[in-house]
C-alpha cells in the first residue's frame, strides 16, 4: 500500500489512485502511466512504485531466480577455477566437471544515461530524458534489491557525471540520475570510449539513449564496451512523435542540438520519414542482434512497468548469461 507523500504543499497521489484519474487508461493491465509517474517528484519513490508494483503483480516470478540457481555441468578446462569443480560428480565418475549456475549474483550494474539535448524532446509532456530517468531509477532499485552493485554514468558529448558501482551507491546513483539535465549536443563514441577507462571490473552496462547516430557508428561505440567482457543492455528511447511524425502545418524544423533549421511540409514527407525511422530501428536491431546485445526500443507513451515486463520477459526467453 502506497500512501500519500507530502511534497511541499502539493499532495501527490499514489500511482494506483492517480492512474484511475489519468487520461491514459490501461485497465486491462493496470500498468502505470509514465505521465502519472512524472508527477511524483521523488525518483526513489518512483522506482519503488514501479518495482514493487511490478513484483506484486508477478508474485513469485520465475524471472527473479537469477542468483545461485544451478544450471548445468561442463567438462573441466585447464585454467578453470578448481573451487567450482563438483567433487561429488568426480567421486561418482572420476572425471572433473565444473558446476555452473544461472547467473552470477552481486554483479556490477552501471547505468549509462544519455543526457544530450535531443533527450529533452517531449510531444506528450514527458521528455525522453524523464522516461530514461525513471527507467534507470527503476532498474537501479530493482538491481539493488538483488544485492547488485549499482552505479551510473550520465553523458552527452562527454561524461558529465560518474557514480562508480557499489552496493551502497543507490542514493548516489539516483541522485546523479535525478540531477541530470539535457543542455548540450550529444555523441556516443567519445564518452563511451572514455568510460572504458573507468569500468575495470566486468559489469552489466545498461545504455539508455535515443541513439541518434548512424548504426555503424553506434556499433563502433558499443564494441569498445563489449571488449572487456561487459554485458550490454540497450534501451532505445523514442518519443511517439519521432516515430509517427504527426505534424500537419509546414514549418521550420530546428535541430535541438545543432540549431540547424530545415523548412518542411510534413504532409509530403511523413511516409518517407516513417520509413527512414523504421529502417534505422531495423538497422540498430540488426547491429545489436549480431553482437548478442539485448536491445529494446521504448516509446515514452508506453507504461514503464509494461516496458519492463516486456523487456524481462524477452530477456528470460532469449538470454542466458553464463
Amino acid at each position: 500500500m502506497i500512501s500519500f507523500r507530502r511534497r511541499g504543499k502539493e499532495q501527490v497521489p499514489a500511482p494506483a489512485v492517480a492512474a484511475a484519474r489519468a487520461p491514459y487508461q490501461a485497465p486491462a493491465t493496470g500498468f502505470l502511466d509514465p505521465k502519472i509517474l512524472s508527477r511524483i517528484g521523488d525518483l526513489e519513490l518512483i522506482a519503488r512504485v514501479v518495482v514493487e508494483g511490478f513484483i506484486n503483480g508477478l508474485h513469485r516470478s520465475p524471472h527473479l531466480g537469477l542468483s545461485m540457481d544451478f544450471a548445468e555441468h561442463r567438462a573441466y578446462m585447464p585454467g578453470d577455477d578448481i573451487r567450482r569443480i563438483d567433487w561429488k560428480v568426480y567421486a561418482r565418475t572420476d572425471r572433473y566437471y565444473m558446476k555452473e549456475f544461472e547467473a552470477d549474483t552481486n554483479t556490477n550494474v552501471l547505468f549509462l544515461l544519455d543526457i544530450s539535448k535531443s533527450m529533452s524532446f517531449a510531444s506528450n509532456g514527458l521528455t525522453k530524458l524523464d522516461y530514461g530517468r525513471y527507467l534507470a531509477a527503476s532498474l537501479a532499485y530493482f538491481s539493488h534489491k538483488q544485492r547488485d552493485r549499482i552505479g551510473a554514468v550520465t553523458f552527452d558529448s562527454e561524461i558529465v557525471d560518474f557514480v562508480p558501482a557499489s552496493a551502497k551507491h543507490l542514493h548516489a546513483t539516483l541522485h546523479a540520475i535525478e540531477r541530470a539535465s539535457a543542455t548540450r549536443a550529444g555523441a556516443l563514441t567519445e564518452p563511451l570510449h572514455r568510460l572504458t577507462e573507468h569500468v575495470r571490473r566486468r559489469s552489466v552496462l545498461v545504455l539508455i539513449s535515443d541513439l541518434y547516430d548512424e548504426p555503424e557508428r553506434v556499433a563502433t561505440a558499443i564494441d569498445v564496451l563489449r571488449g572487456r567482457g561487459n554485458e550490454l543492455i540497450v534501451f532505445h528511447i523514442l518519443d511517439p512523435a519521432e516515430r509517427e511524425f504527426p505534424f500537419d502545418e509546414a514549418a521550420n524544423f530546428e535541430d535541438l542540438e545543432s540549431g540547424e533549421r530545415i523548412p518542411v511540409i510534413p504532409e509530403y514527407l511523413r511516409d518517407q520519414y516513417r520509413t527512414v525511422v523504421a529502417e534505422h530501428i531495423a538497422a540498430l536491431t540488426t547491429v545489436f542482434g549480431q553482437r548478442g546485445i539485448d536491445y529494446q526500443m521504448f516509446d515514452t507513451s508506453r507504461p514503464l512497468d509494461y516496458a519492463l515486463f516486456d523487456y524481462l520477459a524477452n530477456r528470460q526467453r532469449l538470454s542466458r548469461v553464463r
Binding site: 524532446f121 505534424f247 509546414a250 530545415i262 523548412p263
Partner: protein, 690 residues
C-alpha cells in the same frame, strides 16, 4: 486608355511578393524543435511540390489588389477625355531633316530622304508642312505649304552638308512655326541619327502642348568609323631649305579593331607617302610622315585614310606656303654702330628667318621702306626731313617700328611734330638706377604677345638682367605699357599708330645701359619683339567648317574686290568695304579648299584656305530618342490651347482622370476579402495543428 505616370507600372513587380510569400513564407510560420534532423536530411524532399501553391484564391486576391493599386498610381485616363474632345482636323507638320555629314554613314541619307518623302506623301488634304533641313543651323527649304509637289521639289536638291549636328536651332524653328499655326493638330517629324554629341540634354526648347513628335531613328546599333581628326605641321630648315613634317592623328570610334589601315599623304594632288596603321577599338593613333620640301606658292595637302562607311571624315586637308622672312631695316646713329648684339640676334632667327639690313639713319632712302616689315631705330633718334615723314607715313600705313631709346636718342633728336606723333610722350633725360646693382625689369605683362613666350613658370628670368640706365618718357597715361623697371618707369611700350605698330624700348639692346644682351632671355626676347613689331602671323594651315574667315586679314582692307571659289566650285565676289557684315567675310561651310584671289590675280596666285569637318561629328554613338523626346515635348497632361480644342478647366481635367479612384476602391475591397479569407484559413490551420 493612356496613363499619366506609366512609370508606376514598374510597381507591378510587387505582384511577385505575394507569390513568393505563398511559396516560401508559409514555411517560416513556425519553428518546431525536433530532437534531430538526421532522418529529415535523408529525405530528398526539395522538389517542386515544396513550392506548390495551396491557396490559389488567396494568392489571386493579393495579386489583383496589388495590380489595381499600381494601376491607380499610374493615373489612367481616356485619350478622348484629356483633350475634352477628340482632336481632329488638319495638321501643321514640320519635317526636320538632319543633313549633317554623319548622315553619310552607310545608307542613312538615302533612308532619311525616303522617310521625308513618305512623310510628304502621307499628308492629308488640308495638312500643311514645312521642310527644314538642318545641320549646324536650320534652313527652311519651304514655307508652310499644302502643296506636296512643292515640298517634293524642295526635297530634291537637299544634300548632305559638311556641318555637324545641332538640334536646338532646328527645334526652335519648329517650335516657332507650330506656335504660329492655327491648325488643330501639330506634328514634328524628326529624321535624324540622334547623335549623342549633338544633344546635351538641356536644349531650351519646348514644343507646344499637344504636339506629336514623330521620331525617325536612323542610328545603327553598332557602328565602325575611322576619322582623321587633325594634322600637325612642323616647319624645319635644313641648309636654308624649308621643309614641313606632318603628323596625322586618327581615331577609331568603332567597337572593332582596324588592322593595317592605309594612310597616305597627298601633296598637290599626288600621293607622296603611304603608311599603314592599326587602330584598337575606341582608340587613337598617330601617323608621322617624312618631311617634304615646299614649292613656291600655296600647296594643297591632305592626309587620307582608306574609305569606310563614313568616308567624309577620312580626309584632312591643309594648305601651306613657304614661310615668309621678316625684312628688317636697322637704322643706326650717324655716330656709329651700337654693337653686334641686335643684328646678330636677328640673324640667328629661323622661324621665321629675318632678313636684316643695317644703315645709318642719315642714308635712309625712299626705297628702303618698300617691302619692309620692320624698321628698327637702334638708339638713332628720328630721321629728319622727308625721310622722317616717309617713315611716319609708312608706319601709319601698316609698317612696324621698333624704337630703342639710348643715350643717342636725345630729346632733341625726337623733336618735331612728326616724331612726337609716333611716341606716346616726350622723350626725357636718362635716369640712373644706381650703381653697382642697378635696377631690374620689375613688371612684365606676360599676357602680352611679346612676353607670352615667357609666361610659363621658369621659362625666362628677366630679373637677372641689371639695368643701369634708361631714358624717361613723359606719358599722359599708362596705356600701352607692357613692362616697367622696378622704380615704376615704363620699359616697353606698345602703341598703335594708324594701321601700323610702334614699340618703344626705353633702354638699349646691347651691354651699354644694361646687361640684357648677355642674358639667356635676350635672343627669344628680341625675336618675339621683332615678330610682334612686324605684326608677323603664320598662315593658318586649316580651318574647321562653320568658321568665318575675315578676308581683310589676307588682302588688306582696301582691296576692292575678292573672288571666292568654294570647294564645290561655286564662285562669289565680295565688294570692298570695311564691315564684315558688308561682305568681307567668307563663311567656310564646305569641306575642301577655298580659293580667294583679287581681281588682278590669276588662279595660280590664289590664296588657299583648307577647311575640314568638325571631328566631334565623327562620334556616331546615339542618344536615346525617348530621352530627347521627353525633354522637348510638353509634360504629360498638358493640354493644347491653340487650334479648335478648347482649354479644359482644372475640374474637368480631374474628372477625366477619376478612374484611379475606382481602382483604389476595388483594391481595398479585394484586400478586405483577402483579410477575411486569410483569417478563416489561419483558424482552420490552427485547429488542425491542435
Amino acid at each position: 486608355m493612356n496613363f499619366l505616370t506609366p512609370l508606376f507600372f514598374a510597381g507591378l513587380a510587387a505582384v511577385a511578393v505575394p507569390i513568393l510569400v505563398h511559396l516560401i513564407h508559409r514555411e517560416r510560420k513556425d519553428v518546431i524543435e525536433f530532437p534531430s534532423l538526421m532522418f529529415l536530411r535523408k529525405i530528398p524532399y526539395r522538389t517542386v511540390r515544396r513550392q506548390k501553391i495551396r491557396h490559389w484564391l488567396l494568392l489571386a486576391l493579393r495579386c489583383a489588389a496589388l495590380a489595381l493599386i499600381v494601376m491607380a498610381f499610374a493615373r489612367p485616363f481616356l485619350g478622348r477625355d484629356i483633350a475634352g474632345t477628340t482632336v481632329t482636323g488638319s495638321r501643321e507638320l514640320v519635317i526636320l531633316l538632319d543633313r549633317s555629314y554623319s548622315m553619310g554613314y552607310g545608307d542613312r541619307w538615302t533612308r532619311a530622304v525616303a522617310s521625308a518623302r513618305r512623310t510628304i506623301d502621307a499628308m492629308a488634304p488640308g495638312d500643311r508642312a514645312t521642310l527644314v533641313p538642318f545641320a549646324d543651323g536650320p534652313q527652311a527649304a519651304t514655307t508652310a505649304t499644302q502643296d506636296r509637289a512643292a515640298l517634293v521639289a524642295a526635297l530634291a536638291p537637299v544634300k548632305l552638308s559638311s556641318g555637324g549636328t545641332h538640334y536646338a536651332p532646328a527645334l526652335k524653328l519648329a517650335q516657332k512655326t507650330l506656335e504660329a499655326s492655327k491648325l488643330p493638330r501639330r506634328e514634328v517629324v524628326l529624321i535624324t541619327d540622334f547623335q549623342k554629341v549633338a544633344w546635351d540634354g538641356h536644349a531650351d526648347v519646348r514644343l507646344p502642348p499637344g504636339t506629336v513628335l514623330t521620331r525617325v531613328d536612323l542610328s545603327d546599333k553598332t557602328t565602325s568609323n575611322v576619322s582623321v581628326t587633325s594634322v600637325e605641321l612642323r616647319r624645319e630648315y635644313e641648309q636654308g631649305r624649308e621643309k614641313v613634317g606632318a603628323t596625322a592623328r586618327l581615331t577609331n570610334k568603332g567597337a572593332k579593331p582596324v588592322d593595317k589601315l592605309a594612310v597616305s599623304l597627298d601633296l598637290g594632288g599626288r600621293t607622296v607617302e603611304t603608311k599603314s596603321v592599326t587602330l584598337a577599338p575606341n582608340s587613337a593613333a598617330t601617323v608621322i610622315f617624312n618631311a617634304f620640301p615646299l614649292p613656291d606658292g600655296f600647296t594643297r595637302g591632305s592626309v587620307r585614310a582608306a574609305p569606310d562607311a563614313l568616308p567624309q571624315d577620312n580626309t584632312f586637308f591643309f594648305a601651306l606656303s613657304r614661310g615668309q622672312a621678316i625684312s628688317v631695316l636697322v637704322l643706326e646713329s650717324a655716330a656709329g654702330a651700337r654693337g653686334p648684339y641686335l643684328s646678330r640676334a636677328l640673324g640667328i632667327g629661323g622661324r621665321p628667318p629675318f632678313r636684316v639690313m643695317t644703315k645709318p639713319i642719315s642714308k635712309l632712302a625712299a626705297d628702303d621702306l618698300t617691302g619692309r616689315s620692320l624698321v628698327v631705330l637702334d638708339d638713332a633718334g628720328f630721321p629728319q626731313g622727308d625721310a622722317g615723314r616717309r617713315l611716319a607715313q609708312w608706319v601709319r600705313e601698316g609698317g612696324g617700328l621698333l624704337v630703342i631709346l639710348g643715350d643717342r636718342a636725345s630729346p632733341a633728336s625726337w623733336s618735331g611734330a612728326v616724331a612726337e606723333h609716333l611716341l606716346p610722350g616726350a622723350v626725357g633725360a636718362p635716369v640712373d638706377l644706381g650703381a653697382p646693382r642697378g635696377g631690374t625689369l620689375g613688371y612684365l605683362d606676360r599676357s602680352h604677345p611679346v612676353f607670352e613666350l615667357f609666361s610659363a613658370p621658369r621659362s625666362g628670368d628677366f630679373s637677372a638682367a641689371r639695368v643701369l640706365r634708361y631714358r624717361k618718357i613723359e606719358m599722359p597715361s599708362d596705356t600701352g605699357i607692357v613692362a616697367r623697371y622696378d622704380d615704376g618707369a615704363p620699359a616697353l611700350i606698345d602703341r598703335r599708330v594708324g594701321d601700323g605698330k610702334v614699340v618703344i624700348f626705353t633702354s638699349t639692346l646691347d651691354t651699354y645701359w644694361n646687361d640684357l644682351a648677355v642674358q639667356p632671355v635676350f635672343l627669344p626676347f628680341v625675336h618675339s619683339l621683332a615678330k610682334y613689331s612686324a605684326r608677323y602671323a603664320e598662315d593658318q594651315p586649316w580651318y574647321t567648317v562653320g568658321k568665318v574667315l575675315d578676308v581683310r586679314g589676307l588682302f588688306g582692307r582696301d582691296e576692292p574686290e575678292v573672288v571666292v571659289t568654294s570647294p564645290s566650285g561655286a564662285k562669289s565676289r565680295m565688294e570692298g568695304g570695311k564691315s564684315v557684315a558688308g561682305g568681307r567675310a567668307v563663311e567656310l561651310s564646305e569641306q575642301g579648299f577655298y580659293e580667294l584671289r583679287t581681281a588682278n590675280e590669276t588662279a595660280d596666285e590664289a590664296h588657299l584656305v583648307a577647311v575640314n569637318l568638325d571631328p566631334a561629328e565623327s562620334d556616331l554613338s546615339a542618344v536615346d530618342p525617348e530621352e530627347m523626346a521627353a525633354a522637348i515635348t510638353a509634360p504629360p497632361g498638358a493640354v493644347a490651347t491653340a487650334g479648335t480644342g478648347a482649354p479644359l478647366t482644372i475640374e474637368d481635367r480631374e474628372r477625366n482622370q477619376r478612374i484611379w479612384w475606382y481602382l483604389l476602391i476595388g483594391a481595398f475591397a479585394l484586400l478586405a476579402a483577402e483579410t477575411v479569407l486569410s483569417n478563416r484559413l489561419s483558424r482552420r490551420t490552427a485547429a488542425s495543428t491542435r
